[in-house]
Symmetry: C2
DNA sequence: ACTGGGACTGAATCACAATTCAGTTATAAG
DNA sequence: CTTATAACTGAATTGTGATTCAGTCCCAGT
């Protein structure tokens, strides 16, 4: 009997990232994904239950990696809270910086999943925010951070800001070079906009 | 001959905000919008060319108001750059704070429009960002702001952060009371997270 | 008090694209 | 070399929901 060719699932997933990023989940046609992956339309359904499950597969992999990265940082003993905040920001950009399509996908289609039933993706999201919150609290206890900041809101600020700049970078990488973006985010969030008093 | 009943267009638009916000643009059914507006399905097409044009109508109104508000703030002579930044943040929240559905709509469906042809919405967006940029530069010239910050990126940071907190607020107003949110955003962006040296 | 024409209705039409499946092809096992 | 079975194909099927339109309903003008 015949063997599955081995990398079709990878090729389909990779094509889906590009097509979802370009056309949006709803604008993306399965036939287009299949064509870009170099397989027949029907073959997509040998590897994925349906269109939505492709999206799930992609986000699942994405969040798993993010989660692992964050978790590792949060538990490091050798970093101050300040350094952890910087490291977490770096990890976000490490994750998406390799592929603008991946960044666009994440930035534009995440809300589809939050609307969804299962709550699986909601969980990743909540976990991430809680983890950020924990790091900020840690910094407050140690006196590194101002204690009049709401840790949950701060984490959301960083997440939202990173999301926005990732989006801009993905649309025009030259206008928003990633090294500069990282530097600016850290600098603004840690020191603020005002000239030092 | 008969007169148009007068407020059907308003009722349809208002219903559309709720339905788009709840179900997303693609998940929203015209029949549902009509039902919530208390009109027949077909009537929607007497007031709007098609589903997409409803979205356009809503965003057009939204951006026009935002644009007017920002423009006014940017040209005020009686405010320092610092105060302008705070005022712009306030205007964003004034605009959306009255209606969580409006906030969700803006936050979740904006990207549909940026993908679109005409560039009409892109223009609003770009204008807003340039305006923010201008205010930041102004503050740098006057010495109020640090001059090692990239003005364009800073504006994006604020926009992205505001978007995220608006989203969280719309999903759970109690968890993210708007007055606190405003205060935190301003405080973090102006002074940063670190305890003062 | 009639009537012409626009407002309004909602069931029927229609377009589109996700999904299926009957047929074809490749290859592992004997 | 055969054959059985699973991989693979892409045209046909199908479900869904946006849009249309044939008919009603109202009322401004006469």
């Amino acid at each position: 009997m015949r063997q599955k060719s081995g990398d079709k699932d990878k090729r389909i997933a990779a094509a889906a990232i590009r097509v979802f990023a370009r056309d949006g989940f709803h604008g993306a046609k399965i036939t287009r994904i299949a064509r870009e992956a170099g397989v027949a339309t029907g073959s997509v359904y040998l590897y994925f239950k349906n269109k939505e499950s492709i999206l799930h597969h992609l986000f699942d992999a994405l969040w798993k990696e993010l989660h692992a990265a964050f978790d590792e940082v949060a538990h490091r003993r050798d970093l101050t809270a300040h350094e952890k905040v910087e490291e977490i920001i770096d990890r976000i950009f490490d994750q998406f910086g390799r592929d603008p399509s991946l960044a666009l996908l994440f930035v534009n289609e995440q809300h589809q999943l939050l609307r969804q039933e299962s709550g699986r993706f909601m969980q990743y999201y909540v976990d991430f925010l809680q983890l950020g919150e924990r790091v900020v609290r840690e910094g407050m206890r140690s006196g590194e951070f101002r204690s009049d900041i709401d840790a949950r809101m701060f984490t959301n600020l960083v997440f939202g800001a990173a999301r926005q700049l990732l989006h801009q970078w993905a649309r025009a990488p030259r206008q928003f070079p990633l090294p500069t973006v990282r530097r600016q985010i850290k600098s603004v969030f840690l020191h603020g906009l005002l000239a030092s008093r």
